[in-house]
Each structure stands twice: as structure tokens, then as C-alpha cells.
């Protein structure tokens, strides 16, 4: 192991042991009782060299299928500019850690400050943290935070949110003793049923968590009304977003959101089977709220001699390394590198590029859903409201969605995530997502395959 362990050499070891004042490496482990020591070596595969490992992994990875996948729902396979991976591979970023010593960590702190600033611009909020693990845990922590701010234990969630995220919220809420209730959607419209919401809100309600666009793609037509309903009862509105929708949709800060969360992965990171991701977390400028934010926050300040602008971690007294069991969260390691990717990505796209991409995704989804409606006669989407870039396609009355997905795979196209069981109102259905990797030919091929699988004309 000499290559990685420079001191793994008999002479060096002997010299160092001499300085320590013991005669063998084993002497350094004498306090590990014999009865808990491993006899011999662990049962692991024999080591391979750097040259060999690539082959070992590639042989396995070849078993993954190459597909044109139309999947969304919280992770999107998007184009990542070469600049992003190029800059992230710099060892100064990649091999550093949480900037406990700001004077030699200005690079990562400033990059995170830029990320926070751009998240604020996108969401219309005043302050963002430097990342949570993913959208799911960000939403869960937002629900916990709302409960601390309001001192109330009942959280509402919209029933059209991502099923995976809902499960994460429920896991976290159980630990915190928060009761989570799903507010029934108006499934015809695909959005929240405001009458039902009114019935469900009471004086114990801490917050409502709603996704705009929702998991099934639908867009709430009047989010300001939702905010007012909650604020009238002194409860908070938490909005979950696909950040790319914010190039065309109104920022949640403008319609009264108190906390905004979302998935930052499509901002410059690849999907990697769902991780690492990037949990977006932003909120309003209010004393009681600021004290309760989870996670690390970077801030701009000056040097003590006032000669230079500088950046550092702020409000650390909220955090576990100082406040221990009274901390706002246990989060320590977060997703700094993904947040740095997002800062670089958003800078590269810039104002015009971001808006263009945001619109473009919406157009692609509209094109595909319309074609499925017109050319194949499908309910696409099976709700009346508008949608962004993910949308449901209902196959009800034709074939089983699961079967269609499998048959699509045989032709190299993954039609979507089956949603038949998660959203029974729409019968046999899939969630289809588009991104900037899909060409017009890909979209047309999707339609042709579905048409073919369903047996030609409707």
C-alpha cells in the first residue's frame, strides 16, 4: 500500500515507533481486548490495482441498459455543461471540508454565498441555507421548522406531492411527534381543493406543504389564496419547487410562501440513480424564523482590520456542534459540492439562458402531451389544470401501464414512472418527464411507440 501510505515502510515505521517509545505497531493496539479482535483478515475480495478496478466496475455496469428515459418527479437527467465538472474536479474544492477556518476556505464559502444568493433570486426569498441533503429531507426539515416557529404539532401536506418525499416527511415527523395529514386534492383539476383545505386547517395547524408544480405536474392556479388561508390561522406555507420552473413561474416569495424547498439536482448535477442530490431551503427575513433555520448558512462580512470583504459561516449557534440537543437540526455534512455546481450552472445559464431553458422545457412537455392527446387519444394530462415539464399520462381503458412501460423498454424508451397505485384517481397512468436531453425526434419516437403499443389509431 506504499502508493497511498507513505509511512508504510519498515525503516520509517521503526523510526516513528522509536519517537513514540514503543517497539511495535501492535503495542499501539494493546488496549483493544483480544476477545474482540478479528482473527486473521476480514473476508473481502483480494485487492485490485488502479488499472484493474476500471475493468471490474465496467463489467458490472454493462448490465445497466441504455435507454431514452422520460423520467422526472424530483430527479432529472439534464445536460451538464463541461465547465461544471471541470471546475468541481479541482482538488481545492473537492478535497476540502466544512469551512470551520474561513480564512483558508474563502473559495467554498464565497461559492456557497453565491449559491444562496441565486436561490434567493429564483425563489423570491431573503435567505437560503447552503444546502440540505435532498428535496425530501429539505421538505421534512421545513415541516419541523414550521412546527418550532408556530409551536404547533399538526402539519398538512397536499396529496399530490411526490410519494417518496411524503414518506421522508412522515419519517422525520414521527420522530418529532408531529401529526401529518394529507389534504385531499381536487383530482379533476389536479390541484389542491381549497374547500378541503379550509376544513383541515385549525388552530393546531403549523403549516401546509404544497408542491408547485406538483409531483403530477399540475400548477396551482391561485397560490396567494392558499397563503392567505394559512396566514389567517397563523400557520406557515411551505412550497416545494422544481427550480427550473422558476424561469417562468412566479417566485413563491411573491405569493406569500414562508419557506421554499426544492430539488437542486437539475442545476448542474447528473442523476446518479438518485444521489447525491441537493436540497434547496430558503425562507423569509424574520427574527423568529431566522433562529430556526436548519443547516449551514454563509454570510458576507469584513476582516477584523476592515480592509477586505470576506465570507464566513454565520448563525452557528443554531447548529449541532455548538447547541447539541437544542440545535435546529442534526445536519452537519451537507451537499456543498452540488450547491457549488448549482452556483456555476446558474452563472453559466445567466438570466436569459435560464429563462430560455425554463420556457423550452415547458414547450417540450406541452408538445409531447398534446401529441399524445391528439395523435393517440390519451388523457395527457388527465387533469384540467396547466402543468410544467412533468405530466401524467393516463392509459386507463387501454392497456396496463406497467405492461406498456416494460414493452417500451424493449424498444429502448422508458415511457415514465408508473403512478397507477400512487394516484388511483387517474387509473392506469405514468408520470412522464422531459428535459433538455430530449430531441424532437425523441419526443416523436415516444408518441410512435405508444401508438404502436396501443395498436395503431385510437
Amino acid at each position: 500500500m506504499r502508493a497511498y501510505l507513505p509511512n508504510d515502510d519498515d525503516d520509517i515505521v521503526a523510526e516513528m515507533l522509536g519517537e513514540i517509545g514503543v517497539d511495535s505497531l501492535d503495542a499501539l493496539f494493546l488496549d483493544v481486548p483480544q476477545n474482540i479482535r478479528i482473527e486473521g483478515n476480514l473476508d473481502l475480495p483480494s485487492p485490485v490495482t488502479e488499472d484493474e478496478i476500471k475493468g471490474v466496475v465496467e463489467v458490472k455496469l454493462r448490465k445497466n441498459l441504455d435507454l431514452t428515459a422520460f423520467l422526472g418527479g424530483g430527479v432529472w437527467n439534464q445536460n451538464v455543461p463541461a465547465v461544471v465538472s471541470h471546475l468541481l474536479s479541482r482538488g481545492e474544492f473537492l478535497t476540502s471540508y466544512t469551512p470551520y477556518q474561513p480564512e483558508i476556505s474563502q473559495g467554498i464559502i464565497q461559492a456557497l454565498f453565491e449559491y444562496q444568493s441565486m436561490v434567493c433570486q429564483l425563489t423570491g426569498m431573503d435567505v437560503a441555507n447552503s444546502s440540505m441533503y435532498d428535496w425530501g429531507s429539505a421538505a421534512a426539515e421545513a415541516v419541523l421548522m414550521a412546527s418550532r416557529v408556530t409551536h404547533r404539532g399538526k402539519a398538512l401536506i397536499a396529496s399530490n406531492i411526490g410519494p417518496h418525499r411524503r414518506r421522508v416527511i412522515e419519517t422525520y415527523a414521527r420522530g418529532a411527534g408531529i401529526n401529518v395529514t394529507a389534504v385531499e386534492a381536487d383530482w379533476e383539476a389536479g390541484t389542491l381543493d381549497l374547500e378541503k383545505l379550509k376544513e383541515d386547517i385549525d388552530d393546531k395547524t403549523s403549516s401546509l406543504y404544497v408542491e408547485i408544480p406538483s409531483y403530477i405536474g399540475s400548477i396551482e392556479p391561485s397560490p396567494r389564496d392558499i397563503a392567505e388561508l394559512l396566514h389567517d390561522r397563523n400557520a406557515l406555507l411551505i412550497v416545494g419547487v422544481d427550480p427550473l420552473s422558476l424561469g417562468i413561474l412566479k417566485p413563491p416569495g411573491q405569493y406569500g410562501a414562508d419557506i421554499v424547498v426544492g430539488e437542486g439536482q437539475p442545476l448542474g448535477s447528473s442523476p446518479f440513480l438518485g444521489g447525491p442530490l441537493l436540497g434547496i431551503f430558503a425562507t423569509r427575513r424574520e427574527r423568529e424564523i431566522l433562529r430556526q433555520i436548519p443547516g449551514r448558512i454563509m454570510g458576507m462580512t469584513k476582516t477584523l482590520d476592515r480592509s477586505q470583504r470576506a465570507f464566513t459561516m454565520i448563525l452557528q449557534t443554531r447548529e449541532q456542534h455548538i447547541r447539541r440537543e437544542r440545535a435546529t437540526s442534526n445536519i452537519c455534512t451537507n451537499e456543498t459540492l452540488s450547491a457549488t455546481a448549482a452556483a456555476i450552472y446558474l452563472s453559466l445559464l445567466g438570466e436569459e439562458g435560464f429563462r430560455r431553458l425554463s420556457e423550452d422545457l415547458s414547450h417540450r412537455a406541452a408538445y409531447l402531451s398534446k401529441k399524445l392527446r391528439k395523435d393517440v387519444g390519451l388523457s395527457s394530462p388527465p387533469y384540467s389544470g396547466s402543468f410544467y415539464r412533468d405530466f401524467l399520462v393516463s392509459f386507463e381503458g387501454t392497456k396496463k401501464a406497467g405492461q406498456l412501460v416494460r414493452q417500451g423498454i424493449d424498444r429502448g424508451v422508458l415511457l415514465g414512472t408508473e403512478t397507477t397505485h400512487a394516484f388511483p384517481h387517474y387509473g392506469e397512468s405514468v408520470l412522464t418527464g422531459v428535459s433538455d436531453v430530449h430531441t424532437k425526434e425523441d419526443l416523436d419516437r415516444y408518441v410512435e411507440i405508444v401508438k404502436d403499443l396501443l395498436g395503431g389509431d385510437p
Partner: protein
């Protein structure tokens, strides 16, 4: 709903590349120099891990893809889970937790669910945590609804077994422990601690932050731990990324495997799939399957090192730590708290309290001065039970020359503290910015957490 202005920057690609290249130059990583940040395990990450993790056959996979289309990566993840079981002596692993702290929360929630399922949730409200523990332990326990009961360390730096006896009761749900502990001392009475914990019907949780000291030498499963989380970015050398992504898989033994998060990978014949069939699962902690790109790097690391390599890495890490300790405690004003004869493991904690008393120079200032010498300071002021705590973890990938240089720099700084303390007070001067006004940064009237805030 349509918006007009976003407020994103308008800059060209070359400007962006220069800007972030410049920022990277204002940042210190393991690739830059010695970074003995105690408890964080800042070791060298083999670059081949980066190449492999960027493979297009992993990069573009969507987590909702049917398992038939991702058999290759599932095979790797399943094998990795097997390696982790073998290394820790656990029976099954969930790869979902995205970081160590989320692993702790997972473990604490499993303990909670275990007590709920046997009808003892209302009674067993307490989680016992040593006073030397990482802050994440009490914070995680609290998030799972437990009251934290702190147990002190004894004069040798071990968990005080007598004190532990007095706090263990029918109200105890579990105990969270790091071994070696944050003082770098191996809890040699661990079996006794495990037995005592189990006798009152509580569970023992292993915080794997320090497994790198004993990987291949001893296993938490054999010490009596019921649950384990690992920090793959520590023990298995995946790069820390400026503060993440990490990965914090959780392992369990015996009946506790039923409480792991689902879905969980299983192998049926030569195929792999996800199952939700665990009887008492706490549910999901991650919307998908965990930080796959980090897990893949850890797989590569374990395959490169092998069993003997892992053991050797632990031995050299302990050698380096004890060597640095032996050199530093000879310096005037630096002491080794707790028993000096007990060998430390991968890290050690020295106290600069005497130096502060004798010269008025605080450890914080010493740390800043270290930066002028081109080094990253160790972890300072932790654990909380040691005054002016200097917690250093050189790791196995640091050469003797580098450690010598580090010690020599500290020797000079200690001398400066007596002869030219103003030099230390003014530090750092060689960094991209001089000492930062951190109080101003967090004061409500001067705080600036974003440009957006500044504009308002």
C-alpha cells in the same frame, strides 16, 4: 403566474471559469496540504475513484428506472453492503442515509420504533450519550424524540462506567457511542458497557465516525453494538467536497435489521431488486436509494485496499497520530489530558490551556498562525470537556516529513507565543484574507446572508 425578472448574473463562460478557478485557489484541501482536522478524517482520495464515479453508465441513471434496467449498479451496491457487513460485523445495511448525521437519526428512529413495537415507547424516553460525543449525537437523538442523558468521562478518558450504571434504567432506550472515542481513546471495557446496556433492555448504537482507527482490527458487531452508521467520506476515503456529499449507511444486527429504512436491496438468484418487506421499517429517510456516486467511490476504495490494506491503513493512521502526539507533548505549554500512557488511536486531543495561561495566546490564535505556515489547523475547542482542545488526526496518508514539518511549525509558534505574541495576534497574514470578523457576520444589524438581502 408568469414572471418577468429573475436577477441571475450575466457573465461569459471565460469569466466564470476564471472566477471559480480563482475561488478554488482561495481554498485549502487535502490536495493542497496537511489537513489534520480531528474527527473529520481528511485523508487522500485516490483519483481513480473520480474517474470511475463519472462513468456514463452510472451518471445518467434515473432512480425511478425499473430494477431490470439497472442490474449493474445494484450488483455493486449489494456487494458494497456485504463489505460493510463484514467490516462492521452487522447483518444488514441500508445505504439510504446521505451523511453520518442522517445515519444517526436513522439509528435513533430505529431504536424508537423498536420500543414502539414492543409497547415501551412511553417509558423508554432516554438516550445516553457521553460528554465527549460529537454534537450530532445529541441533536439526532433529540430529533427522534429522546431526552438526552449525558454520561461523563472518567479520569482516563473512558466512559465512566460507574456513572453509566447510575443512569441506566428501564427508561433507557439506547446509548450512542464512538469507539475509539473523540479523545482518540479506545473504550476497552466496551463489552461490559454493552452488557450493562443490554441488561436494562436498551440498545447500543455505534457512531462510525472513528471506525477508520480499527477497520480490519476489531468490529463493532463483536463489541456488542446493535446498530452502526459509517461515514464513507471518512473511513473509505471519498472526497469531502467542501462539506459534502457524504454517505452514512446504517447497519443492524439480528432482529434490529427489521427496522432498517426501506426499500432495501436484496439478491434473488443472480438478480437484484428492492424490497419493502421489512416488518418494522421506519420508512424512508432518503427519497431514493442514497448517495450512489459516493457509495460507488467507497466500493472502489475497498476493492483497491482489500482486507490487508484496510488494516494497514488503520495501523498507519494510529502510528501517525501517536507520532504527532509524542512530538507535540514535548512542547512547553502543551499537555495531554487524561492518562498519558494510554496509546491514542487515529486522533489525539492535546490541551493548550497552559500555553494560554502562560502567554495569553489562545489556541484560536495558534490555529490562525498555523495557516500562515501553509497548514490547515486541527479541530479546535472540541471535545468540549478539554480546555483549549487541540484535536488532531493526521491520517494514514500523511508522510513522516509532512508531520515533522507540522510539528516544527507548531514548535515555532509556541515559541513565538512567548517571544513575539503580536505576530500570532495578527495572524493569518499569508491567507487570501486576514482574520475575519465573525461576530459582525452574525450580528442582526450587520448580517448579510445573500446579495438579495443586501439589496433590500
Amino acid at each position: 403566474m408568469i414572471r418577468r425578472e429573475i436577477g441571475l448574473p450575466r457573465v461569459s463562460q471565460p469569466q466564470i471559469v476564471r472566477h471559480y478557478t480563482r475561488l478554488s485557489q482561495m481554498n485549502f484541501g487535502v490536495d493542497t496540504g496537511t489537513y489534520p482536522l480531528g474527527s473529520c478524517t481528511m485523508k487522500y482520495s485516490p483519483k481513480i475513484m473520480e474517474k470511475i464515479a463519472a462513468h456514463p453508465q452510472v451518471k445518467h441513471l434515473h432512480p425511478d428506472q425499473p430494477v431490470d434496467t439497472v442490474q449493474g449498479i445494484l450488483e455493486i451496491l449489494h456487494e458494497l453492503a456485504g463489505f460493510l457487513e463484514e467490516i462492521t460485523g452487522m447483518d444488514r445495511f441500508s445505504l439510504q442515509p446521505a451523511a453520518g448525521a442522517q445515519g444517526e437519526l436513522t439509528g435513533a428512529l430505529m431504536i424508537r420504533e423498536f420500543n414502539r413495537s414492543r409497547g415501551e415507547l412511553k417509558i423508554r424516553r432516554e438516550m445516553i450519550i457521553p460528554d465527549s460525543a460529537h454534537g450530532t449525537n445529541p441533536a439526532s437523538a433529540r430529533m427522534a424524540g429522546f431526552a438526552v442523558v449525558e454520561v461523563p468521562s472518567d479520569e482516563y478518558g473512558y466512559v465512566d462506567v460507574e456513572a453509566l450504571k447510575s443512569v441506566l434504567s428501564h427508561r433507557t432506550a439506547g446509548m450512542m457511542l464512538t469507539n475509539p472515542n473523540t479523545l482518540g481513546i479506545f473504550e476497552k471495557r466496551i463489552r461490559e458497557v454493552a452488557d450493562m446496556t443490554h441488561e436494562v433492555g436498551a440498545l447500543l448504537y455505534y457512531d462510525g465516525a472513528n471506525l477508520n482507527a480499527i477497520a480490519g482490527i476489531a468490529r463493532p458487531g463483536d463489541m456488542g453494538f446493535d446498530l452502526v452508521h459509517l461515514n464513507l467520506h471518512k473511513t473509505f476515503g471519498t472526497p469531502h467536497g467542501g462539506g459534502g456529499p457524504g454517505s452514512g449507511p446504517v447497519g443492524a444486527k439480528g432482529e434490529m435489521t427489521d427496522y432498517l429504512p426501506t426499500p432495501i436491496i436484496e439478491r434473488v438468484g443472480d438478480r437484484y431488486r428492492f424490497t419493502n418487506s421489512l416488518k418494522h421499517s421506519i420508512g424512508r429517510v432518503h427519497p431514493y436509494h442514497g448517495n450512489i456516486a459516493v457509495l460507488l467511490r467507497a466500493y472502489v476504495y475497498i476493492r483497491l485496499y482489500g482486507a490487508e490494506g484496510l488494516r494497514r491503513a488503520a495501523e498507519i493512521a494510529v502510528l501517525n497520530s501517536n507520532y504527532m502526539k509524542a512530538r507535540l507533548v514535548k512542547l512547553p505549554g502543551i499537555e495531554l489530558p487524561f492518562h498519558p500512557e494510554i496509546p491514542r488511536k487515529h486522533e489525539f486531543v492535546a490541551s493548550f490551556e497552559s500555553l494560554r495561561r502562560e502567554t495569553g495566546v489562545s489556541l484560536k490564535e495558534v490555529a490562525k498562525r498555523l495557516m500562515d505556515r501553509g497548514f490547515h489547523p486541527p479541530t479546535v475547542y472540541f471535545p468540549l470537556i478539554v480546555p483549549e482542545a487541540f484535536m488532531a488526526e493526521p491520517t494514514e496518508t500523511e508522510s513522516k516529513e509532512e508531520i515533522d514539518r507540522y510539528c516544527e511549525a507548531l514548535a515555532q509558534i509556541v515559541q513565538e507565543a512567548r517571544t513575539q505574541p503580536e505576530k500570532i495576534r495578527e495572524a493569518p497574514r499569508e491567507t487570501s484574507v486576514s482574520r475575519i470578523d465573525e461576530a459582525r457576520a452574525s450580528r442582526p444589524s450587520t448580517m448579510i446572508p445573500s446579495y438579495t438581502w443586501l439589496k433590500k
